[in-house]
Structures are given as C-alpha cells and as structure tokens.
Subunit: 655 residues, 2 copies
Amino acid sequence: MKINNNTMVTIGIGIGLAASLFACTPKKSSNSGGAAISKNAAEKVYVAPGKHDEFYAFLSGGFSGQLAVYGLPSGRLLRVIPVYSVNPENGYGFTEETKKMLNTSHGFVPWDDSHHPQLSLTDGKVDGRYAYINANNTPRIAKIDLKTFKTTEIIEVPNSGGNHGSPYLTENTEYLIASTRFSIPLPNKDVALDKMKEEVKGTISFIKFGKDEKMEVAFQLLVPGIDYDLASCGKGMSHGYCFLTSYNSEKASTLIEINASKNDKDLLAIVNWKKAEECVAAGKAKTVDGRHVHNELNESTHTVTSATIDKVKMLDVRDCEGALYYAPVAKSPHGADVDPSGQYIIAGGKLAAQITAYDFNKIVKAIQDKKFTGDYDGVKVLDYESVLAGEVKKPCLGPLHTEFDGKGNAYTSCFVSSEVVKWKLGTWEVVDRMPTYYSLGHIMIPGSGSKQPWGKYLLAMNKITKDRYLPVGPELPQSAQLIDISGEKMEMLLDFPTVGEPHYAVALEANLIKDKVKKIYTLEENKHPFVAKSEKEARVVREGNVVHVYGTAIRSHFMPDNIEGIKVGDTVYFHITNLEQDWDIAHGFSIIGANTSELLLMPGETNTFKWEPSKPGVYPFYCTDFCSALHQEMQGYIRVSAGGSSTPLKFNQGK
Amino acid sequence: MKINNNTMVTIGIGIGLAASLFACTPKKSSNSGGAAISKNAAEKVYVAPGKHDEFYAFLSGGFSGQLAVYGLPSGRLLRVIPVYSVNPENGYGFTEETKKMLNTSHGFVPWDDSHHPQLSLTDGKVDGRYAYINANNTPRIAKIDLKTFKTTEIIEVPNSGGNHGSPYLTENTEYLIASTRFSIPLPNKDVALDKMKEEVKGTISFIKFGKDEKMEVAFQLLVPGIDYDLASCGKGMSHGYCFLTSYNSEKASTLIEINASKNDKDLLAIVNWKKAEECVAAGKAKTVDGRHVHNELNESTHTVTSATIDKVKMLDVRDCEGALYYAPVAKSPHGADVDPSGQYIIAGGKLAAQITAYDFNKIVKAIQDKKFTGDYDGVKVLDYESVLAGEVKKPCLGPLHTEFDGKGNAYTSCFVSSEVVKWKLGTWEVVDRMPTYYSLGHIMIPGSGSKQPWGKYLLAMNKITKDRYLPVGPELPQSAQLIDISGEKMEMLLDFPTVGEPHYAVALEANLIKDKVKKIYTLEENKHPFVAKSEKEARVVREGNVVHVYGTAIRSHFMPDNIEGIKVGDTVYFHITNLEQDWDIAHGFSIIGANTSELLLMPGETNTFKWEPSKPGVYPFYCTDFCSALHQEMQGYIRVSAGGSSTPLKFNQGK
C-alpha cells in the first residue's frame, strides 16, 4: 500500500453510524417511512384502464437473473424478460433453440445474478435500441432487443472473478465495460489463499459494440487486483473516459467486511480508454488465454448459436502510460456517477458520511501537472484536493448512488440513514431530503445516465421490506418507492413490491419506442430448418430412432393431432410453428409426463420440444396457452408402441 | 351415445356468435373496453405507502406453473410461490433439499401448468390454513401452507390423462377432487387411435385430506371416458356431492374443436361421494395399479422426502348405484359453480348463450323419482326439466364461470361477448352488465366458493391483452380488471397485468391470516442433518471424494470463508445455514461458474448447493442477497487443487 494517507480527509465513522449499519428495526412510527404522502398521490399514479404508462422502467432481477419491465407511474409489472436464468414458463433455456443462450466456458449455467441494466446511447442520449445487463456470478453481458424485448445476445467475460461493475457504456455505445469484482490469480491457478495477495489481478474489459450491433471482447486492461465495484463512462467533455469505484485496496481474502475496511480511503479508477485503444493499436497488448463463449439468437431461424473464443488481447496498464489513474475516494464507495454535462463524477462511501464530486477538468489538469501523491501497484494516485470539485455539505449516512434530473440537481441514495438527499451541482448544498423505507439501495431517474434525463420521477429501491406489504411468509418481495421530483420539493407517491432483487434500474420515455415494438414474427421470414409454414407442410419424418414432427398450431388445433408409430427408444422432436399472424395469439405445447418445460410460441415462431417416451400407451398433448373459445379442445394424441414393434408411422395432415 | 335428444333444449349458435369466437380485434372505441371508469377509481384502488391491501388474492400461474399472490385493491404482486416449475431465483427444484418436490412417476418434471387455486374450508368457510392448486399436464395436486407461503406437499394423481377439473374441495376439506381432462385407455396401453373410443376411461379421484393435514389418494371412481372440465363440491344442503362439467361426449380423438362440438348438449356429472365412500367401505372397489409419487417438505429438516405408492382403490361407478348421475348441460360448458347456500349449481356453455341453474333439491327428487331419459355408458342421465331451477334470461355469449357475492347475486363471465353479467338467484334476471376487455375467462369474488363470500370486489381475468398496456414485444402479460361490486351497479376500477396466465383465482380477507404468518425459521427447531447452528459448528468434512461444508451466513460474512484442499474430482456439498433470526434478513450463496441455481436462505434455514469443480484455481463465492451495508464484502474463496494433489483440507472457523 502506497496511498499517501497525508492527503486524505479522514472520515470517522461515529458510533451511531456503525451501530445503525445493522439496524433494521423500524425506528419511525409513520407508516410512510417518515415521508409525507403527496396530497394527489392517488391521482398521480393512477393509470386508468386502457391508458398507458408514461415510462418503461427496466429493473434488474438481481438474484432472479432476469430483467423486469415496469410501467411508471403505475408501478405495474409489464413483463419479466428471461436473460440469465432458465424460465420454464416460456421454455427459455429448455428448448433446443434457446438452451445454448446459457452456454458458458463452465458449461450450461441455469442461473445468474443480474445487476445493472443500461440503455444504448447515441451521442450520449438514450436511443431506445437496446438494453444490456451484466451477470455478476459467471461473468457475462447480455443484450436485450427493445423491439422484441428478447435477450438476443450474451457474451462471456473471460479473465474475471466476478462481473459487478458492468455493463456501463460509452457515449455512443462504442464499448460496454466489465470490471472484476473479485480479483483472482490471472491466469487462474492453485494458490494458497494466504499467498494470494501477491498473485491477484483485476481486469477491466472493453466489449466493443460494433456497427453490426454485436458484442466482441475488444481488449482487456490488466489492472491492480483490488475489487472493482460500480462505474460510469464520461460524456460530452469527458467522453473517452470511464470511472470506476473499488474497495479492498487492502487485498484481504478473508473476513472482508473487516479486513477490507481498514484503509481510510479507497480508490476511484480513472480509465482513459481512447489512450488504451491507441496502445492496443500500437501493439502493446498481448494475446493471452481468455476462453469465453458468445451466444446469439438469430431471429429468422428463432435459434441460438454458440461460439467459443479462446484468446483475447490483454493490455497491462503499466505498458500504457496514461491509460489508468487512481484518485482517493471515501471508504467503501459504491456508485461512480457522471452528471449529464460530463463535468462531474460523484462518488459516495457506504462507510462514510461523504459525497464527493470530482471535476473532470481538474482531473485532466492534475494529470498534466503530475499532481500525484504516490502510486498503487504501479498506478499513479492523484492528489485528492487537486481533482475535487466539492463535497456535499451535511449529506447523509452511507451514500450509495447519485442520479440527476438534468436541471442542475443531483439526488443521492443513503443506505444507512434511509433517505434521498437532493443537492445542487456546483454549490454542493442539500436542498431537500425525502425519508424512504429502510435500507435504501439504488435510485433511478429516467435517462439519468445520459445527457438528457427525464427529471419527473425518482424510483427508490429499498433493501428491507418487512411489514411494508401484507406478509407473505419468511420470503418477502423487494420494495420500491416512487417519488415525484418535478417540483422544488420531492413528493412521495407510491410503494410497490418488485420481483427478484432490483439492484439498479434505468428507464426511458415510452414514446421513444412504443410504436416500434414488434408484434408478430412473420411466417415469410421464418427460416427455421424445421418450420412448417402451413398445415399442408405438417408432417412426421423418421430418421432411425429420431423422429421429427413438423407441426403447426392455429386456432384451435394442432396439425398433426394424431400421431402413431412412435416407439419406446425413439427421440421425438416436436418442431411446432405457430401459424397465427395476429398480435397476442400465442399457443403453447406440452405432453403429459414430459421432463422438460412447455413451448410457448408467439405468432410466426417455431420452437422445439424434445420427448423420449418410456412406456407404450396413448399420450395426450394440448395447447397450454388459452387461445380461443375452443382452446380447451385444442389437443391431440400420440400413440407409443413397444420398441421393435411394427406399428407404421401415421399422422393426419388436415383433411 | 344414448342421450335422449328429445329432452334437450337446442341452443343454436348464431352466425354472429360463431364468427366472434375468433374475433379479437377491438370492436369498441373506448379505452376502457366499453366500461365507464368509476369516478373515485384512483382513490379506491390506491393503497398509500405503508398501508396494507385488504385482500390476499391467489391467482394461478397457468403456464408458469406457480401461484401468484396479489394484494387487492391495489393489484400489486406480493409474491410468486414456486409450485410446479423450477425457480432458479430461490433454488426451488435445484437444491438437494427441494428437487424431490418435482419428482413424479415420470421422473423429474421441471414444469407444469397450474390452473385452479382453492382455499381450505372448515364448515364451508374459508379457514386460512392452506391453498391448493392442480397441475394440469402431469396430474398432481399441491398444498401451500399459508403460514409460510411455501409449497409443502405435492401428490401425483394416477390413472389420469390430464388433471384439469381439480382440486375442488368439499365443505370441510375432507377431499380434494381430481378428474381426467383427457380420457385415455386405463390401464394405459398401445391402442390404435381410431379404436381408442372403445377403450377410453375417465377417473374422478378423491384425495383425502386427513386430520394430519396430509394428502392421500383415498379412492378413484372409474367413469365414462369423456373429458371432464371444471367442478365444485356441494355445501350446506348439498354437502356430500360434487358437480363436474364435461365435454366431448362424442369421444372424438382428432380435430376435437369440431368433432367434440357435434352433440347439442354435453353432460354435467353429479357425484354422490358419500355413497361412493359407502361402496368403498363395503369392499366394492378393486385394488389396481396406480403408481404415483408423494412429496412432502419437512419444515424442521427443510428437506423434501419423496415416496412412491404403487396401488390405488378403484371403484367402477357401475358397481355403486347412486354414486354418479349425469344431467344434460349447455354445449361445451366450463364452470360448475355451487352458490353459497348450496342449493344452486350454475353451468354455462362456451358455445351456447345459456346459463343454467340446477336445483339441488330437484336433483335429489329426480333421482328418487327416477326421472331419467336414458343412460350414457351405463350412467343414468337425468331429465333436464326435472332438475332445472331456471335459465338466466337474456344472458350473454359464451358464459364461462359464475361467482357469488353472498347477497343473492351471481356474476357470470362471458368469453365471447367479453362482459360480466350480474343476475339474481331465484328470479334469473340480469340486473347489470359490465363490459370488460377482450376474451374474459374466469372471474373471482373473494370467498365465492364458500358459504360466506366477501362481496366487495370482482376480478376479471382477460385472455387478450394486446394494446392494453405499453407494448413489450410479441409476448405479452395477461390482463386483469378489478370491479367494485359493493353497490347496485358494478364500477370498473383498475386494469393490471398479471404474471403467467391466471386461469382462476381465489381470495381471502387479509385479517384472517396476516397475523399468523411465519416470519423466521427458528434455529432451535432446525433439524437439518447438516446444520451448523453457530459459527463454532462451522466445519468442512471430507468423506472420500465427497466434501461436506457445514457453513454459516450472518451479516456480513460466511464461515468458513476460506477453504483449501478441495480437489478436481470432488463433489462438494455446501450446506449453508442462515444464522439470522430477524425477519427479512435473507442471505444467498453461489460460486462462479456453478451449474446450478443460487441458494436463497431465509432466517434459520439450511439449504445445500452441489458443486463439482473442474479445474484448479481460486474460486470466489459471495452472498447473492443484499443483506447489509457490508453485503458487498460478504464473500469468500475456495482453493481447488489438481486431482491427486496433497493440499491438506483447511478452513477458517471464526477466530
């Protein structure tokens, strides 16, 4: 450790703060968590039958691994998009077509922990093309197409021990970044844990998002082995940079809660990625092992393909002067948030009562002027005072994350004191406070990460739910609170429970995308190798012990709906095409006793159900999605004969 | 077919009705689906921050396989209870403890289609002990404990080709019934489908719910092989009977939408289960093959055990006079709903414009007086006029399902005309109509299936969503509408989207259970064989190639958090106990690259994560549920050495 402690402002943690870190017992008598409820709250959040919400909000699923779409201001759950976890509800991760989306270099992984949704940017503005979200446990980044609200691409991030500070993106979505939360030996090897400190390395990966709108690991920066936390990238004047908080500059590997909290300050990483690009172009990166899997959904074949890439370009930041600097940051920081102008980078410390604003212009000047106080593992540490824009006066306890309204105000969530503080960029004065329910984590203002936020609402995501809603046993939902920020004072509007554990959220104005959303898949464009585009094409083909059913579904029958000649020992693939071409007319498919999920088929889509019958008999199958008045009658039968029997293959094909 | 057509009232399906069966294009210009919105709707559905909803509503997940808990009147999703589908979010179906809950006679089944939640009754009143729900595809019934909101028992229903009309229950929850939707040869065998008509049989199973509050297949009735649909059981005067609709009296096995709609009337099954009990007691049932699996969660060991039962008692109704009668019912019926008094049984026909009320007293008398018009496969068919209480005058198109407010009114959902009609029991006059959004399926009034409904709200569950909410791609949520029925006229209050596909719902007043809900599992009661009840008990034990980690989690660390001496080729079981004893302090657990879901551990709970490392290296694990200000620091490392290496087993154990 070479951080020069002399330059640091020591923030003592008072006994009150330390004690309250674990205090979750309600201390306020008011049911609103201390907040006065806005007089017109009911009217403000009510979206009448048939009317639409004003914003799409994308809340991370956290330990659900998915991405949840809510309407604001109503707080209604519009959809859960399967991303990293299998979803038997629609066959995601079960069907022959989708299961490859969950391939990794560790094999098939049925779950992950999705943390930080982001929205694609053009010129620093939300463009409504894509959402992205990281997998925290088995490092990956996923892309969700906002025309179909489907996960269409997942790329694994190699040489990483955990992917938390991700997938923050640059002003034109040139790159998505991914930094290692848990630094590990690189390449990973058998190391005694008490010797690991000397071996651990971090990486900050730059995932290129090219003109083909596909992801690719462009290069990785090899950086000191501390634990990188959250991040954001510059815009406007700071375009070309990314900023990451980190913790555990102690490089502790046991009892981290104590051993990683010893230093008075942690480190903010300042990455000049344009400089890194130059170094990579100049051949300073090495090609190293970096086995990772890249999965893509082809929307014509409705099928995911999976490729493995073995090598990546790794640039040691010590070989690229100017690519990485550190600045001291308040103890155990979380968010690193760039304001809409790109000038200020805001970071708080969970164990501090301090919110720091860094000035990008001062950072540039301090680097030019070599205002360093030392180095950390060969990386220069900038003088705190030289890069400081200001510290928020009388902020709060445990500041976590800051969002912006685009009108010169910043809002910081405070975990320990459970409140949102509103303060002025430039004067650093707190102008309003809103108590929330307990253990406020992240907050979200639509478009805050862009140059043009929609500063109307703020969503607070609280970690404690307790008696906030009707009790539902030991396992509770998470809790969100919607706050009106359109006026001078914040107004509390609504509490609503959320699915999974939303760690982070983004939102966009509905008008930006609502008219571009896809309603059906056209049959003409369906290039699935086993499609049947009409009932006339429906058929059953035997190839040895493998049977392919080219099936169709349309209100209110399957074709074929009677199949004979299947034998025990066969593997039967039911490739079912939904022939409907009208929005919201889905069909489903399953067979009694099947050891897989159902198929849920959107109009024009083909998907495949694998079945291995184990006993002779008659097996019913049916439509699992109520499709019409005669849905209940939408069914069929498969006759299964003993292995080796001579029952001929037979099926009906319309009249 | 021996139904006497002379006694039937032929209901023609007009061209308009037939055409509208498939018409889903909005035909009304109003955004409310034609309904005027109540003036005070916003105030009526708004539940202010910190206030609780008035009702718990349990909506079936349909093709999600789960059970969703909503608060009413807010429409907020309070929880999704995993029942029949794996849930990587909390490890349900993945952990060593829970995966047996999805065992069946077909092996492990990761998905099902859950349709009809029911609530336990005592003396015909909702008692708040349990919810139950059927699996439609692989026939099963599940029990959900309303103290923990957990699935604690699942029993398979043997000799069934599909379990739709289930799990309707008797007035003291003596039995849960399960009837075959798809009749198949019994015992199932290899039969040519065009010969199947002669072989098919149905069963109506009586699942005993004993004083030990466990389920057991008491006996099955062997009944004619038509397709049984929905049901309900008698109460008060009709206690001892159950009533089931059916379709496909034609016994068609192909193009059922046409071939099962040929007869003018279908059959209502009237089961005298007390008579059936007598016959079983008199030895008239045969013991037959009926292999089925029974899974139970032990809440002390936190572990599911699974047992297989091979035989069941089967009573052929032809061997038990008086156990089963049929009555003609309007074509393609759906609901069979008993009013709170027990006197009236209401059935509609999806393909009819007819709602029929049968009078229980007349049924008893008609049986006594032998008012039969013929028989169907040996079962007597009652004369329609002799059992008729009345037909609703000018009802609607495609009546599906009727609920009751306990004040003498019935409400019927009409699929084709997309409306709720309110009518008077006794006079059969329609007194109000409420247009809903398109393709209204089922409706729900809290407590409707009991003697004492809470007649304040009606929830309409619509099959079509289309542009009802912000568009979210080809795959849309389902849609519910909340209607105030406390006054003379119905008032439309709120639209909200729902998860899965709710086919059916039940609800109860929150006050009945909210104070009884369990908040934690006590450590003292934890009898898990691998529990560590304190950090002192945390340890790692090797048994050959199997390693057991007796681990603990408490804010904000795991114990042990450093483990060495694990080798490639080992199978490692992490048995993690959450030592917290405070509500809503959950911890999670996962390891990078693991091929299973996370653990999500409620306070006092132990669960097991199986891991088979494939390469030497250092592997981070971490807490996946934000638990405290130092949650981010709650992590550890496992060192994996090569197979055959001599790295000794080592782990930390607190100080």
